[in-house]
Amino acid sequence: MLTNNDKITVSQTVALLITTMLATGILALPRHVANIAGSDGWLLVIFAGITAFASSLIVGALVKRFPQDTFIEYSQKVVGKAPGFFLGIILILYFIFLSAMSVRVFSEVMNAFMLINTPRGFIIGTMLITSAYLMRHGIEPIARTGEILLPVLVIPIFAMYLTALPRADFSELLPFLDTPAKTLAIGTVQTAYNFLGFEILLMVGPYMRSPERVMWALYFAMGFITLMYLFIVVIVFASIGVEDTRILMWPAMSIIRTIMAPGGVFERLDALALALWTIASFTTINGMYYAGTLAAAHLTGAREFKFLVTVFLPWVYLISIIPTNPLDTMRWTRLSGMAGLVTAVIIPAIILATSIVTKKGGSTS
């Protein structure tokens, strides 16, 4: 079909999921949870992880139910041609919007820490072109890129934050459970959008070599991401304190600036960190952008997949430069979180429920 018939393995799916979920958003996550729940913020990460995991299971169930189809096809099968088509368009718009937001957040971080005077158009443009270059090769190279970049990304991140450990003061995590349950509940939903990315399975599902093992991929990827986020949030809280975390724009980045690398080779690790976040954003954009183009290709029945990659490029760029300043970007990412709630949770849930009620899919395929 489309570019190639290549299928991806389960381990490649895990890599694709983790690298898509792991995004620059993590840099702001400690501030976000600190603002909502103070020193209980790290609990939010766990709760949000569990919530996201639960919603990802819906997507997983859909993949298992329709192992041959993407969301575009089965939504039309389940709820009818016209509504399914409409849902497909929503999905495309959502993925395009999310890739635009990912690249925008990345450019904000770059402008804040590394390339202060570089126009953001340059950063966004080069990043998107790099991503489009990969897109043109199809699903298998994308998954393989994820597979290669995952260890390159994760191991240094852990190592980097571990160097902050000697100065960490874990009493900053106290008082424990000081936040009202209602705040925690609302905060959980608000935090959950940091775990978005698993919904690319709506499109990538049928490209798996063994879709029946999709749940394994989800257990592993969601568990890994939750632990990683928890680790970073705890380290940030313990290193600079909850109060400081609240006022910093990108606290997870700021603590890296305070780390002195062992051996004195580098004064600060922020350049290394930004190199890593470049990879993280790149893989996130890849996942979203690819899912969006794939959805469009399936929806229009287009033969030329590569052409669509190029068609979407200016649109992603234009959407990404809409926010006027970093704070505006933050507001827009919250909007993308809401959109994610609708697209990644509610719509799949409706489709799954309808398909169970109408007994479509499953054993037939």
Partner: protein, 535 residues
């Protein structure tokens, strides 16, 4: 995009070569009359003054007319005299020949009289002419529509010497030569297995170069063998002078800076590759043998990785990986650090760099470009010059240019160090083509670093990753086993595991037979224990 390029470069396809058959047809049969045959050959080879014809008569009655044809200098004259002429003219003069043998006379000559080892019967002009041109001697016998090709090939050739481009501390010292048969023999001597197959084809319309495809049946993946043969058969070019011609004709992605075939001068490397399921292409007239499929990892390996003990081999491998990274990015990282992110360096270091750069009129980028460029020129000059003068270049380059440039304040001493580390790193890569590819990328990385600092370097690395991930050599992932990593292959990867633990062959070629090493060291011990128990 490839299409556009090929359209740009190829122009109109010239069919003329296919019509102009430069060699006589295989369907053109030999005549009965020896003079007619000779005349015909001279028609094909007119104005070829190096073709020698020797007419002579044989037997007591001098009744049998015969003729020898060969090219002067391509044959071993001693062989022609001793093995052919002496046996035909002298040794059997007094033996009573049956003149009534008729058709059997030809066989008598072939099987009973000639003392040469390698004799082949042919009946057409095509093979005769090719035989003459290849250095064989042709024996015509009057009244027979057949001729004998007697292998007398022997020309001035270089002996088996130590390969200069792939020296090792430990390992065999013999290297391939320019002679096809010698090269095949060097490989055969190492693998005495009837499953080692040698398929010879001739490539090049003018050169008719012998090209051998070697593989071990039952190990090599048949898909790869077929793919190699298929691609070789599409080659239609005027001449094949070196295996590089073939490499460039059959590689998959010619826009890539990375070599997609491995070349080696060492028979032991070829033998090892054959046992990993590789297909080997041996080309006449060059000591460089091609191995395919190729992975990035195999290009970063040296035969010593397997001859040395595993700790040492693993350490050297890790060193090479680091070197490969620095060979690409070191000047770029320096530029990014100093020009864009000086805050990242420790204050003392930043200050000392700033102090050495004081008085240097150029930016770090220009400085780096000047130095890397002059280093490339020095390297190139060093390659061209004969040995003793080559060393002078080293002194001129290292001392005069480096030292003087620093003294004159054109470049900073730190930049000299950076470029030197970069160059040394690239020399640590065993494969020259790969090292050159990395040095080419150095320039691109310098530009990227000048454009956007570390972000530019990262972009470059991402592009590189994407390119490498999508690159394939004969259907095999260029980055395997980094992609689709399997733990069993991990023993021969970044680290080279202890020899007894490497039980399977590397999986990148999907070999048919995976067994590599069976660890039987404990068999005897167990047997001894059993015997002891019995007693």
């Amino acid at each position: 995009m490839t299409n556009v390029f090929s359209k740009l470069f190829s122009g109109k396809k010239r069919d003329i070569y296919f019509e102009m058959d430069i060699s006589p047809d295989k369907n053109k049969k030999l005549k009965k009359n020896i003079k007619e045959n000779e005349k015909q050959i001279h028609e094909y080879l007119y104005d070829c003054d190096d073709v020698i014809t020797r007419d002579f008569y044989m037997g007591q009655m001098q009744k049998h007319e015969m003729a020898l044809m060969y090219i002067d200098g391509m044959v071993n004259k001693n062989d022609v005299q001793e093995q052919i002429m002496k046996s035909l003219m002298l040794l059997c003069r007094n033996s009573p020949l049956e003149y009534t043998l008729g058709q059997n006379f030809f066989n008598m000559v072939k099987e009973g009289l000639l003392t040469a080892a390698d004799v082949k019967e042919v009946d057409n002009f095509g093979e005769v002419v090719l035989g003459i041109l290849s250095g064989d001697t042709i024996l015509f016998i009057d009244k027979f529509e057949k001729a004998l090709i007697i292998s007398t090939r022997g020309w001035e050739k270089r002996g088996v010497q130590e390969p200069t481009t792939e020296a090792v501390i430990r390992g065999p010292r013999d290297g391939f030569t320019e002679t096809y048969r010698v090269n095949i023999a060097l490989i055969r001597r190492r693998i005495k297995d009837p499953n080692l197959k040698v398929k010879t084809i001739k490539l090049g319309r003018h050169t008719r170069t012998d090209v051998g495809v070697l593989f071990i049946q039952g190990v090599a993946n048949p898909n790869i063998v077929d793919e190699v043969l298929k691609r070789l058969n599409t080659i239609d070019m005027a001449g094949v002078l070196e295996s590089g011609y073939i490499e460039q004709m059959i590689e998959g992605d010619w826009l890539s800076p990375f070599p997609q075939l491995r070349r080696t001068e060492r028979p032991d490397v070829v033998a090892a590759a054959l046992m990993e399921g590789n297909v080997v292409i041996v080309t006449d007239n060059t000591p460089f043998v091609l191995l395919c499929p190729t992975t990035l990892l195999s290009l970063l390996q040296s035969p010593e990785d397997y001859y040395e003990r595993w700790y040492i081999a693993s350490m050297i491998r890790l060193l090479r990986f680091t070197a490969a990274f620095f060979a690409m990015t070191f000047p770029a990282l320096y530029i990014a650090m100093t020009a864009f992110h000086p805050g990242m360096l420790p204050t003392d270091l930043a200050l000392s760099i700033a102090a050495t750069r004081e008085g240097v009129p150029f930016s770090a980028v220009v400085e780096a470009l000047v130095m890397v460029f002059s280093l490339e020129v020095l390297r190139e000059a060093g390659v061209r010059l004969p040995g003793p003068i080559g060393q002078t270049i080293g002194i001129v380059g290292g001392l005069v240019v480096g030292e003087a440039a620093v003294r004159a304040g054109i470049v900073s001493p730190i930049m000299v160090i950076v470029v030197a580390v970069n160059a040394i790193s690239s020399f640590a890569i065993p494969n020259y083509s790969l090292a050159i590819g990395f040095r080419l990328l150095t320039f691109i990385f310098i530009f990227l670093a000048a454009l956007a600092g570390l972000y530019g370097v990262m972009l470059g690395l991402l592009w590189l990753t994407v390119h490498l991930v999508s690159l394939k050599s004969f259907g095999v992932h260029y980055l395997s086993p980094f992609v689709s990593f399997r733990f069993s292959e991990g023993k021969d990867f970044v680290v080279r595991g202890p020899m007894p633990s490497m039980e399977i062959r590397p999986g990148y070629t999907r070999p048919e037979d995976m067994d590599r090493i069976n660890d039987r060291r404990h068999d005897n011990m167990e047997k001894a224990e059993d015997e002891n128990a019995d007693k």
